[in-house]
Amino acid sequence: MIETVIRKRIEILADKALQKRVTDAIDAAGITGWTIVPVTEGKGRDGKWREERVMGTDKVFVLTIAAEDKAQTLAEAIAPMLTKFGFILTMWDVEVIRGERF
């Protein structure tokens, strides 16, 4: 049977314009990488948004996989942005193959 290890998977929903701040924080936390998934529409307490492309209201999901401790570092680094810019952060445990990479 293939060996797996447990890592944290973190997903941050952020404004496209501010994506770089999130990925900079990931780099700063010493995590090996990240991946961007597009999102097209959403609704929250501030009402609906849609990819409106002309006005900087677009959002993206930033995904990253990291060991528990680095995930914590990242979460703390990002917490102020969550409140300030209305980002959303969720994380959970996942099994990964080739865990030594993360």
């Binding site: 314009a17 009402g47 849609r50 409106e52 002309v54 006005m55 900087g56 102020p80 942005m81």
Partner: protein
């Protein structure tokens, strides 16, 4: 003035905008794919930039051009102060939101400008090619004034972007880069170089503008229906400011010696409110300001008002001031 209004409403460009508004209000699922809307805006920027550059390569840079530039930049810096005062008192907005909205009204909307150029050209009053450069120069100054008003320059708060970072953002903004880049290409390539590519940039222009305005109509109307943050006071301001700024800008243009078409174009630039560059800058520099307010005002109220009504008013006013004869030949 009445003739002008009629002409405005039989122009396909304006009619497509109205179709967009109507379709969104009827809750149609009509939508232009995001990539296409982006491509159309890149195309319009490139076309307008290159055409402006070719025009200036023919006319050269003279005193008229320089005074138009000076007038535009000055207006960009100063108009936000007036807007701020109105927003704070009559509009009952707080300091931050007043500054953010003021920045939008001091800056410019490329699409409003392009639509105005089409309409003015249809009236045989084509603005000078250098007005494209004036437009580019007017994009940024208001952002500075707006920030000054909102938080005092330099007082960087945690999480907000440094002023330097923000200016890099504004000046490397894709529309500015493409507009100025294409302008430079137009100046270098000149009329002969432009001849090669002119079919592409001229044949498609008005048609693309039609579809782009269709999309803007859809977005403006959908945002209007979703919105709850804009009071009647702000709605009134979103109509009052473009009228006043438009008249001031037109008078300024005539004052520094521009022809009727170019004065009207300057008026339209002053009247228009940004909904691309400035919202992006504000999201970074003043994240506490509410996009629900500034986007809805500039995009859903001022933009349609300018396209449907105010360009006509400004054009008539420019004709009046320069002693013109109403609708041209």
């Amino acid at each position: 003035m009445f003739d002008t209004a009629i002409q405005t409403f039989t122009s396909p460009v304006v009619l497509f905008f109205v179709l967009g508004l109507a379709a969104a209000f009827a809750r149609s699922d009509l939508a232009i794919p995001e990539a296409i809307a982006k491509a159309m805006s890149l195309y319009l920027m490139a076309a307008i930039g290159i055409k402006g550059g070719v025009a200036v390569s023919k006319s050269g840079i003279d005193a008229t051009v320089l005074s138009a530039l000076g007038a535009g930049i000055a207006a960009g810096f100063l108009l936000p102060f007036f807007a701020y005062a109105v927003l704070k008192t009559f509009g009952r907005l707080d300091r931050i939101n007043s500054g953010a909205v003021a920045a939008h009204y001091g800056s410019i909307s490329v699409v409003t400008f392009v639509t105005a150029v089409e309409i003015l050209t249809g009236q045989a009053r084509e603005p000078g090619g250098y007005m494209v450069a004036v437009m580019a120069a007017m994009e940024a100054p208001a952002i500075l004034s707006g920030l000054l008003l909102a938080r005092g320059l330099g007082s960087k708060e945690g999480g907000a972007q440094s002023t330097g970072e923000m200016f890099h953002e504004v000046f490397t903004n894709s529309s500015i880069v493409l507009l100025l880049g294409a302008f430079a290409i137009g100046m270098v390539a000149g009329e002969s170089g432009f001849a090669e590519v002119s079919p592409f940039f001229e044949v498609g222009f008005k048609g693309v503008l039609c579809l782009f305005l269709l999309d803007m109509g859809l977005i403006a109307a959908r945002r209007m229906m979703d919105n709850r943050a804009v009071t009647w006071r702000l709605t009134a301001i979103a109509i009052f400011l473009p009228v006043v700024n438009g008249l001031v800008g037109t008078a300024l243009g005539v004052g520094v010696g521009l022809d009727a078409g170019s004065s009207a174009a300057l008026g339209v630039l002053c009247a228009s409110a940004s909904y691309i560059a400035v919202p992006a800058a504000m999201r970074l520099a003043l994240p506490e300001a509410d996009p629900g307010i500034y986007l809805t005002m500039s995009l859903s109220i001022t933009f349609p008002f300018n396209v449907l009504v105010n360009i006509g008013i400004i054009s008539a006013f420019a004709v009046y001031l320069t002693g013109g004869t109403g609708v041209g030949p």
